[in-house]
Amino acid sequence: NQDVTITNEFYKVKFDGNTGLMASIENIASGITVPVKQDMLWYNASMGNDESKQQSGAYIFRPNVSTPFQCSNGKPQLSIFKGSNLLVQEVYQKFSDWVWQVIRLYAGKKQIEVEWTVGPIPVQDKWGKEIISRYETNLETNGYFYTDSNGREILERRKDYRPTWHLNQSESVAGNYYPVNSRIYIHDNQVQLTVLNDRSQGGSSLSTGQLELMIHRRLLGEDSKGVGEALNETGQFGDGLISRGKHWLLLDTVTSSAKQHRLLAEEIYMSPLVAFQHH
């Protein structure tokens, strides 16, 4: 039940021992501290209802309720690793037998690395599941968030709003989801939280100061868009796919974040190639 903290020259990340979740991020150089709660949740995939027979499928994301479920039964198990040379410090979170996470701080690196591992998603309960990673902060974002478009122009998104027509919002979650090809961020007047992802994902900000990314999904329904199969890949072991990926977090002033996420994105998306040779 102790709080856990990892730190490098740039960031201090604190975890709440009572909840087992990330509690705050401090940018040491900028003197910014923001309460950041990060959790792993899942939406129950819709199999259609009285309003619409549309099921959640490969093309269509449609949760059957707007409130996601916890991936953990109770609080996640928390452990910390700090090696002797302090090149890297890691905090491990086990949310359940199919959801884990590692949060890393490397010496000299100005970003927080979050490595998530999800799967095989259990579906014995006959519920399709769409897993999200959600970050909650106290930033006054008022429904605005920003997503990229294939790493090119970053577009302003606004909850329940379209800039060129009057929107009658019928899907409170899916109707606010947008493609996130490389980054999503939220900010208020001073502070910006940026999340870079290692693959295209769906993402949104459904309430002020919050952002979320869908990281894995396994469905039993089919969205009737022509494929004719549920998105239910079982993998070589027959029990469903395990997916592992990374998010990189930046928390800084709005003005300095713009440069930082562009430079970091270059290093991530043009990452060095590693090969080995017998000696």
């Binding site: 039940n1 910390i80 690793f81 090696g83 884990w100 000299g108 592992r244 060095p272 190639l273 080995f276």
Partner: protein
């Protein structure tokens, strides 16, 4: 001409909106196979480019789950790292290795003839679960690779037997239930 195999596979994949769950499973398997075969051909091209001869480099596709037959079983190997960016970068590498108290790992930057600071990180419970009994690496060897712009650097990793028992993993592991 070797890179054409991957170029063709990418063309098929992009045209058919592959790898997004919008095809039947056996079709997705075919996309994956085509991409795999394309990558294998390109690995040969990269090997030739980096080594200057026909010596084949080994590319470990499962480094993300700490799985690499060469590094986990070898006492000495070379890591070649190519940086495609037009500026120098530094990147932390995580190499799957077998560690215990009787051995130490040393990493030499062959370009500058300097010995690097290394850290051994035990494989996490999540990784062990994901690997499902494949591979034997119980640690990741972490070091910072400094790389030139549009070029590569080479690092030699050597596993030395220690003369006395030294605790490699001076770890502070704390479990909060």
């Amino acid at each position: 001409s070797s890179s054409k195999v991957l170029r063709d596979a990418m063309g098929v994949a992009q045209h058919h909106d592959a790898v997004s769950g919008t095809s039947k499973q056996h079709v997705a398997n075919d996309y994956a196979k085509r991409l795999y075969e394309g990558r294998e051909e390109c690995n040969k091209v990269i090997s030739t480019a980096l080594t200057g001869n026909n010596e084949q480099l080994i590319f470990c596709d499962y480094l993300n789950i700490t799985l690499c037959d060469l590094t986990q079983s070898s006492n000495q190997f070379v890591v070649m790292v190519y940086n495609p960016l037009a500026r120098g970068v530094s990147k932390y590498l995580r190499i799957p290795v077998n560690c215990d108290d009787h051995y130490v790992y040393v990493v030499d930057d062959l370009a500058t003839s300097t010995r690097l600071t290394v850290q051994l990180v035990p494989v996490s419970e999540a990784t062990l679960s994901v690997r499902r009994n494949r591979g034997s690496a119980n640690c990741e060897l972490v070091f910072l690779a400094k790389l030139p712009a549009l070029g590569h650097n080479t690092f030699q990793v050597t596993k030395h037997k220690t003369s006395k028992t030294v605790s490699l993993l001076k770890t502070k592991v704390e479990k909060v239930i």
